[in-house]
Symmetry: C3
């Protein structure tokens, strides 16, 4: 597998968390394809398409503020299962970690994402994300 493909995919995942955690809902939604799908047991139905993905990211930010927490998406163990110049399949661990203004930091949930990516020019985008939560195994 081409090393530069792997590096570009690492960049996507690092950047994506900074976007949603930093309140950039629209830019986060654009890390998905226009018809991108987000499937997670945390939410009752799949989130499909950029408008709904943007609203999803806005809801995440709102819930964190309501809870008085700063929340972060921590990505580790990013494994590129397969990749060519047009598409890729990726698995990674994704922890949501929250910090209260009092200083307490805790892992809120531990998840694994399985993503199908497609290449869009120089950028990789997520066509479909499936999330597994360890507390609902």
């Amino acid at each position: 597998m081409d090393g530069s493909l792997v590096t570009g995919i690492h960049q996507l995942y690092a950047r994506q968390s900074h976007l949603i955690d930093g309140g950039h809902a629209d830019a986060w939604a654009r890390t998905f394809t226009p018809d991108g799908e987000f499937h997670s047991p945390t939410y009752p139905a799949p989130v499909v398409g950029r408008d709904r993905l943007r609203a999803f990211a806005e809801d995440f930010a709102h819930a964190a503020r309501e809870a008085g927490e700063v929340r972060r998406h921590v990505v580790t163990n990013l494994f590129v299962e397969s990749a060519d110049t047009t598409q890729a399949q990726v698995s990674a661990y994704l922890q949501v970690i929250g910090t209260r203004v009092t200083g307490d930091t805790a892992i809120l949930r531990f998840t694994t994402v399985s993503d199908r990516l497609v290449r869009d020019g120089q950028d990789w985008r997520i066509a479909r994300r499936d999330v597994r939560r360890d507390d609902t195994a």
Copy 2:
């Protein structure tokens, strides 16, 4: 150091955790060389060779089920100290994180691994792993 060597090594570590955490004991054992060695203060004696490494991974999965936890090996700070086309020396942080079905997630232990790798065709394998536990320093 060749960037593609580093990228290939990152792939090994990401994949290795998904294998043991996903219950693929045999595939995990094959991330070591046939006579690979695993030295850790968590266990009374070194685990040497693929048969014993596979049994080790099976025991890990069994203990997690017994404890009612999903356990994950989270790798960060992967530093390739040296590498050529045939061997490499690597250090990384490895956290074992557990989630109970009740939802509580905690860092069970924080370790540092020091690994000697050898190249086997396109794949990197671990010839010897030494684990340091921070709670037994």
Copy 3:
């Protein structure tokens, strides 16, 4: 962006944590430029220049020993915002995680670093680091 630039920057960050956590204060200080700057709300004034950076790293090690903890700098979500062959801008999540000899491991604080890097021959060095703490947002 050149993949090998990104890989080299990943190596800097992985190595840097092992240096400060392993008690190598002088080598840690040399991951900054000679006039490197460290700006953090944890400390009353910026730490500027290698002599003061080395003293800073020594103080970190001393405080951990006093607290009876092993402390680790865990870097994730390393995003290379821009890079050419002479300089780069990087954002990453940096957690300080502590383990007591009793075995309890906790996230002590969650921070985000924004770094300006410069190339020095084959090595990248940090010219300025700005740290954001999530508990003082």
